[in-house]
Symmetry: C2
Subunit: 349 residues, 2 copies
């Protein structure tokens, strides 16, 4: 791609120096407010005036090249348009802004190969650090090797084969909790509905479901191998027509819940009377959906913030051992589970 950019307005520190009638370094020092340095106030003012007159803007690119700091952090998430990741991205941006950093946010779509390319791209841009929601891999790969040399915080999921700071929620406990809530309502045939079970968080949620069922001595039924929401939807309909005929579902995420609701509607089944549901991920309208959805709420924005904080701590030179930060989830009890009134049960960490 041939690129045409105007260079007309490329005011440099040199132009400012000339305009102010001082040396280069004086300008640089004024701009950076070098701590142990005293200026004659007059000089400083001359420089500031010149900067204003010329509309000079420091060139971060040159700074990055010269110094060892780009002022950019990389953020690699599953997909930007997902509400959970969107609020996570917001949390990151808030923290970055406080420190005059900017984030480059890119998506993986849960594609390992794309993830590799995105990591490489961000490294080429010399980001100072990385926040990453890595897609699960069986073994260490190039990604691990690349990240070993870069301050990195794993977000939402640990990275196989890489020791680093991380911010997670206890998916397993939350899922077990939500499943036990259904069991508490007297359900005995409860199915797990989800997809993309190579994703770490999904696997954890499956394990949580399995644990709850096992403890209660109930038959377990994971709708496995579904690759996407549409297929999950078909599987749900199949199992609802099968002899097993679940009276309740635990759904791995909002999309799956939506699929189950649609399936129930299609089969003329009432939620929660004929089919009860609990799931993952709260959203703004959940209370107005009928029936109100009982879901595990994850602190998306807080995750982003916390992760960014950990990263900036490292960039500031913090040494200590890697932090393993687990944030609380809440089970927001509404109606789809069979409950009448709304209540909030906080999951212990």
């Amino acid at each position: 791609m041939s690129v045409v950019l105007k260079r007309g307005t490329a005011v440099t520190i040199r132009d400012v120096a000339r305009e102010a009638g001082v040396g280069l370094m004086t300008v640089s020092r004024v701009i950076n407010e070098v701590p142990g340095h005293k200026f004659s106030p007059a000089t400083a003012q001359k420089v500031r005036d010149a900067i204003d007159r010329l509309g000079y803007e420091p060139n971060n690119v040159a700074r990055s090249l010269r110094g060892r700091r780009s002022g950019v952090i990389g953020v690699i998430i599953t997909g930007i348009s997902d509400p959970f990741w969107a609020s996570c991205a917001r949390g990151v941006e808030l923290e970055a802004r406080k420190r005059n950093y900017v984030p480059i946010v890119v998506a993986t779509d849960e594609d390992c190969e794309l993830e590799e390319r995105q990591v490489a791209a961000l490294q080429a841009h010399r980001v100072d650090g990385m926040l990453i929601a890595s897609t699960y891999r069986a073994k260490r790969t190039a990604v691990t090797k690349r990240l070993a040399n870069l301050p990195t915080v794993a977000i939402d999921r640990p990275i196989v084969g890489l020791k680093c700071d991380c911010v997670l929620v206890d998916n397993l406990a939350a899922a077990r909790n939500a499943t036990e809530h259904l069991i508490g309502h007297g359900h005995r045939r409860i199915a797990f509905a989800g997809y993309a079970d190579r994703v770490y968080t999904v696997r954890e949620r499956i394990d949580g479901y399995l644990e709850a069922m096992e403890r209660a001595g109930l038959e377990r039924n994971v709708l496995e191998g579904a690759a996407d929401p549409a297929e999950t939807h078909r599987r749900v309909i199949d199992v609802l027509k099968s002899p097993f005929r679940p009276t309740a579902f635990f759904a791995a995420n909002t999309l799956v819940m939506l699929g189950i609701m649609q399936a129930a509607q299609q089969l003329g089944l009432n939620v929660p009377r004929d089919v009860a549901i609990t799931g993952f991920e709260d959203f703004r309208w959940a209370e107005f959906v009928k029936p109100g959805l009982t879901v595990v709420r994850q602190p998306g924005e807080a995750m982003g913030q916390r992760a960014a904080q950990l990263l900036f701590d490292r960039l500031s030179g913090k040494q200590g051992p890697f932090e393993h930060c687990v944030l609380d989830t809440e089970l927001i009890v509404r109606e789809s589970c069979g409950c009448g009134a709304e209540a909030v049960l906080r999951t212990a960490v």
Copy 2:
């Protein structure tokens, strides 16, 4: 903030050259696959081998400084966590990825001053171009001046005092349309509910509402000056208790719709029987909200994509006049307006 970064893995083009036993430029040319250049295949292979052995990674920062292309575009939107803007950001990222570009996405929170700072920050990072949803200002400001020298595409809203490519939807027509739909249901006392009326899109929606009411010869009632959702909520309750007592609302966005729904619930009013509603912004669960929400759907992802395309066209040197691109909206008719069955009416451009 003192920054500590490892420089251990800083393999440069120079190291590669030495390793391969060739000159700097040969390496550079191999990497960039300079078009009109022939290499002895042996040399090219030597270089490639050396790159692999050393794990060399081009330094985009140095490239940006030397060349006139950073490979980064700036994206300034209202807020990343809003679903509309999130899908817009996704559209941008998809287009950027195709061209080996990365986006820096930052938010303004509808704050003019913050917007200025964000523009400055992105310019400091020498982004090659900018996509911006600018907050309305009465007159030209520093932002306008800054953007005049940078390839810019206005997204969702035009920029006062700046001629540039833009991608919009016809908010006025869509709002008029949605209001007329209510009028068609026989409503005569229809109020406009919204906030942040200094935002361009909100003003357009108000105008659309006003136009529809005027054409029908109906009394207009804009709940003005509400600064945030909470206040809007109070205003809605007030007006529902007032003599005017609207039988229907046109809501400026989803949050406002939510507020109206809550207010109605609180007052024991049935939607749509006692109070009908149409609004702006569709979302995934809208069909499961009871009653189903009748809303104007905006093509968020397509807006992001289109805007990015326009920008990259300019970066490729496209000259012509500025494009003014208006994307279609749809009125998704569900139940909150008073309709029974679902239907989709496409708004003409």
